[in-house]
C-alpha cells in the first residue's frame, strides 16, 4: 500500500502550487482558483489521515466530516468571492489586483 507520507507530500505540493499562484498571479479570479486548490490540498491530507489513524481497519470518519465541511464552506466562499469580484469589476472595469491602490496613491 501507499504510505501516508506520499499522500502528505502530494497535499503539500498542491498547497505550495496554490500558494505560488496566490503570490504570483495578478488576475483576482485566478488567485481565487489557487485558493480553492489550497483547500483541496487540505482535503487530501485529511482523508489520508482518516485512513492512517483508523482503528481495526475502519477509517476515522471525523476527518472525513471535517473535509466535507471544508467543501461546503468553500462553496459558500466562492459564491461570495465571485460576487465581490463582479462588484469590483463594475466599479473599476478591471480584475487585476494591482488596480486596488487607492490607499497608496
Amino acid at each position: 500500500m501507499i504510505p501516508l507520507a506520499h499522500y502528505l507530500i502530494l497535499s503539500g505540493i498542491l498547497f505550495s502550487i496554490g500558494l505560488a499562484g496566490v503570490l504570483i498571479r495578478k488576475n483576482i479570479i485566478v488567485v481565487f482558483m489557487c485558493l480553492e486548490m489550497m483547500l483541496t490540498a487540505a482535503n487530501v491530507a485529511l482523508v489520508a489521515f482518516s485512513r492512517a489513524q483508523g482503528t481495526a481497519g475502519v477509517p476515522v470518519y471525523d476527518a472525513q466530516v471535517l473535509s466535507l465541511f471544508i467543501t461546503g464552506i468553500a462553496a459558500a466562499e466562492v459564491a461570495i468571492g465571485l460576487a465581490l469580484i463582479v462588484a469590483m469589476f463594475r466599479a473599476r472595469r478591471t480584475v487585476e489586483s494591482t488596480a486596488l491602490n487607492s490607499l497608496k496613491d
Binding site: Y7, G12, I13, I17, L23, N43, V44
Partner: protein, 226 residues
C-alpha cells in the same frame, strides 16, 4: 500482488497529472485555460479519494468542485469579458513567489518523510517490476509490506476491514454475518458520524451556505439610485 501494485502505480500517475494541471492553473495566461486545468486537477484528486476508499467525498469533490464551482468560475470569466493578463516583466515578484512556495513544499516533504515508518515501504515501481518477474519466471517471491502498526503511522495505510466496519455499523450483528461483509458502506458510516456528533455544526454550515447565497445576490445586483 500484481493488481495492488498496479493500483499504486495508478495513484502516482493520478498525482502527477493533478500536480501538472495545478501548475497549468498558475502558468496559463488565459483564465478559461486556468479554469479547465483546475477542473482536471480536481477530478484527479477525486479519483485519488476513490482510491483511498472515500467514495462519498470523491463524488462530492466531483459534483461540488469540478461541477458547480467550475461553472461559477467560467460564468464570471465569460460575463466580465476579461482580456489576458498584461505581460508584466516583474520577474522579481514571480521569483519571490516560487521561492516561498518551494520553501514550504520542501518543509512539508521533509516532515512527511521524517514520519516514523515513512520510508519502510518498498518503492511501488520496484514492486511492479518484481511482480512482472513473478509473472514471467513464475518465481514465488513475495514482497513484504511494512507492518501497519500504530507506532509506524507514517508508513503504509492499514487495509480496510469490512467486518469491523459492519460491526461498527450494527453492533447487534452476529460474528458470522460480520465476517460475510465484503465492502465498507462508506456513506452510511459517514452519515452516522455527521448526523450524530456533528449535527449542530452541520446545521450551522447550512446557515452559512444560505447567508452566502443571500450575500452573493446582495453584492452582485445593480444598485439603483432611487
Amino acid at each position: 500482488m500484481f493488481e495492488s501494485s498496479l493500483c499504486q502505480i495508478l495513484f502516482y500517475v493520478l498525482a502527477a497529472v493533478a500536480v501538472l494541471c495545478a501548475i497549468g492553473v498558475v502558468a496559463y495566461r488565459n483564465p478559461v485555460n486556468s479554469a479547465m486545468c483546475m477542473a482536471m486537477s480536481f477530478a484527479m484528486v477525486a479519483a485519488i479519494f476513490f482510491g483511498m476508499g472515500a467514495q462519498f467525498l470523491g463524488i462530492v469533490q466531483l459534483i461540488v468542485y469540478a461541477g458547480a464551482i467550475l461553472v461559477l468560475f467560467l460564468f464570471v470569466v465569460m460575463m466580465l469579458d476579461i482580456h489576458d493578463e498584461r505581460s508584466s516583466s516583474n520577474y522579481v515578484h514571480a521569483a519571490v513567489g516560487v521561492l516561498v512556495a518551494g520553501f514550504f513544499a520542501g518543509l512539508v516533504i521533509n516532515v512527511s518523510l521524517g514520519l516514523p515508518g515513512a520510508t519502510d515501504t518498498p518503492c511501488p515501481a520496484k514492486t511492479l517490476c518484481s511482480s512482472f518477474g513473478e509473472l514471467l519466471i513464475g518465481d514465488a517471491r513475495t514482497v513484504s509490506a511494512a507492518p501497519a502498526s500504530a507506532a509506524q503511522y507514517g508508513g503504509a495505510l492499514p487495509e480496510l476491514n469490512a467486518a469491523a466496519a459492519a460491526r461498527l455499523e450494527n453492533p447487534a450483528i452476529s460474528e458470522a454475518d460480520a465476517a460475510k461483509a465484503t465492502s465498507i458502506s462508506d456513506v452510511k458510516l459517514l452519515g452516522k458520524c455527521l448526523y450524530t456528533h456533528y449535527n449542530i455544526a452541520f446545521v450551522i454550515l447550512s446557515f452559512a451556505l444560505l447567508s452566502g447565497t443571500v450575500g452573493a445576490v446582495a453584492l452582485a445586483r445593480k444598485i439603483r439610485k432611487d
